[in-house]
């Protein structure tokens, strides 16, 4: 296992200066994520127009992998529709759990997380933000359903 492959410059940069960090005003939904194993906590806020994520921000305390993954995620999902975001999570998950796999071209900067696959104990750090985003999206869907009903 190669430490440099895990802590690539992109990861260290996003850990030091996380993008889209802090609460989002006028969010349609948010969710809290918690990894009880290591104590990582984060909140993800989203603003949706129809099925499109127009704004997304996060805040939390976590390790470099969890912080950088959340930061990269916010950059990647902004402006995308929810179906594309769900597909993206699947591609990220495949990247994190398949060492020696070829990263999907759609991943863009998220491919920097590829080194995590060599460190199975850290996969959960990288996926926490995605699970939390999913929870926020489901909650907003519930809200829509409730109103529609």
């Amino acid at each position: 296992m190669d430490l440099k492959d895990l802590y690539r410059d992109v990861i260290l940069d996003h850990n030091r200066q996380p993008r889209n960090f802090g609460a989002l005003e006028g969010a349609n939904a948010h969710a809290d994520g918690h990894n009880p194993l290591c104590g990582d906590r984060l909140t993800v806020w989203v603003r949706l127009q129809g099925e499109r994520i127009t704004e997304v921000r996060f805040e939390g305390k976590g390790c470099a992998i969890s912080t950088a993954s959340a930061s990269l995620m916010t950059e990647a999902v902004k402006g995308k529709d929810t179906a594309t975001v769900r597909r993206l999570f699947e591609q990220v998950h495949a990247l994190l759990t398949h060492p020696n796999g070829t990263p999907d071209a759609a991943l863009g900067k998220l491919a920097a997380l590829g080194g995590v696959s060599e460190f199975p104990a850290r996969v959960k750090c990288a996926t926490l933000c995605w699970h939390t985003l999913n929870a926020a999206l489901e909650r907003s869907a519930d809200a829509v359903t409730t109103e529609g009903g």
Binding site: M1, L3, L6, Y7, L12, L37, C38, G39, D40, R41, K61, G62, C63, A64, I65, S66, F119, A121, R122, C125
Partner: protein, 411 residues
């Protein structure tokens, strides 16, 4: 007679632990996680293997040779544990899965049937979850109240406030002998004395104390003492609950089944004598055998000599780590066991754990099953290096070097 004058020969001790002679991620293993689980010496591995190879059968059951051999081995382990704790009687030694089960046994069989609204259980802010949650469950079940004596910034119990919280309403005081997250050694003699003068009973969570200090439950005067085998170089899944005989005698069984009964009919069953009343089902026989061997081993090394050796390493590591910029030691009590919890600015403990592992250095990172301690210090987690009888000054050097590597990566 102990050979306290002889220097502690750590090189020889290390040869007793085959697991240590391996490489991890291309580096010699530096095992600094004994507070989570100690490694096992050959003496323990062989005792378990010998039992499994030659003597195994069920205990207290058959008249055949193997059943008798297994029973002798199991009950012999109980006598060994009695001597280890200097308990008065084997009837006071209940085999359990570990500290957690021991505490739950007291919570359910002692506290639950007799506590009610207005009664209080007093713990401290240092406790492991295993000495918090069982009491919260009893409070939910009975309406009694859980009180928590605070700690200070050094990670010491605020004894004045503890004594003020100790009142006629306090029925039970349940405290760690040694804190797992910070290493603080609690003033258990004072605590026992003060609790008893208030009419409260005392349970000590000895999980982190047993590998570092000789335990004499009669001298301590505690009413219950629980510990796990694997913290003192024995197997997992076995531990001991000591309880004063008159208390255990009055307590109802907490699990029903085989071995804990004398007679069973559909109208009424009668229960077995102590300690078997609390040991329903086939026990962890080989675990008990391994635990007894671990006690032989540790006493053979001389626990006081081991503790002195660990204290030298703790002092060295504390001095070395204090020199690292951005490193903060969490838990600076005057009296500590060989546990060093710390944070490094700009590097989350979880990242530290991965980087140290890549250098072959095994430490624990996280909340150490003591979330309230983390909350008190307003940190999500710490990195924790803990020392056992087999650790060396070279291990401390490797830890310091690996921390340098972490500072490079996160510089």
């Amino acid at each position: 007679m102990s050979t306290a004058a002889a220097p502690f020969d750590v090189t020889r001790v290390r040869r007793d632990f085959p697991i240590l002679a391996q490489h991890v991620n291309g580096h010699p293993l530096v095992y600094l996680d004994s507070a989570a689980s100690g490694q096992r010496p050959n003496a323990v591995l062989r005792a378990v293997e010998r039992y499994e190879t030659h003597h195994h059968s069920n205990v207290h059951r058959g008249v055949h040779a193997l059943s008798q051999a297994a029973t002798e081995a199991f009950e012999g382990a109980r006598e060994r544990a009695r001597r280890f704790l200097n308990a008065r009687s084997r009837r006071e030694i209940v085999f359990v899965r570990g500290t957690t089960e021991g505490i739950n046994l007291v919570a359910q069989a002692f506290a639950r049937p007799r506590f009610g609204p207005g009664d209080e259980i007093l713990i401290t802010g240092l406790e492991h979850h295993a000495n918090i949650v069982p009491w919260q469950m009893v409070c939910e079940q009975t309406g009694c109240t859980l009180k928590v004596a605070p700690i200070d910034r050094r990670g010491e119990l605020d004894l004045d406030r503890f004594l003020r919280q100790l009142t006629a309403r306090t029925r039970l005081v349940a405290v760690a002998h040694v804190s797992n997250a910070l290493g603080t050694v609690l003033p258990v003699e004072r605590i026992v004395e003060a609790a008893h003068s208030c009419g409260a009973l005392v349970l000590l969570d000895g999980a982190q104390a047993v590998p570092h200090t000789a335990i004499d439950v009669q001298a301590l005067g505690c009413d219950f003492y629980a510990f796990s085998g694997h913290k003192l170089y024995g197997p997992t899944g076995i531990g001991v609950l000591f309880g004063r005989e008159e208390l255990l005698e009055e307590m109802p069984p907490w699990q029903g089944g085989g071995d804990m009964i004398r007679t069973v009919s559909f109208e009424k069953s009668t229960y077995n004598d102590l300690p078997w009343k609390f040991e329903a089902g086939t026990p962890n026989i080989s675990g008990a055998v391994g635990l007894a061997a671990a006690m032989d081993y540790l006493e053979g090394l001389d626990i006081e000599a081991v503790a002195a050796h660990e204290q030298r390493l703790l002092a060295l590591a504390t001095a070395e780590l204090s020199r690292i910029p951005g490193l903060e030691i969490i838990g600076t009590a005057a009296h500590k066991a060989a546990v060093l919890s710390f944070t490094l600015r700009g590097c989350h403990p979880h990242d530290l754990g991965t980087i140290l592992d890549s250098e072959g250095v095994a430490i624990r990172t996280g909340h150490h099953c003591a979330m309230p301690v983390m909350t008190f210090f307003d940190i999500p987690a710490t990195a924790r290096a803990s020392f056992g009888c087999y650790n060396t000054e070279a291990d401390v050097d490797a830890l310091v070097a690996a921390l340098g590597k972490a500072r490079e990566v996160f510089g």
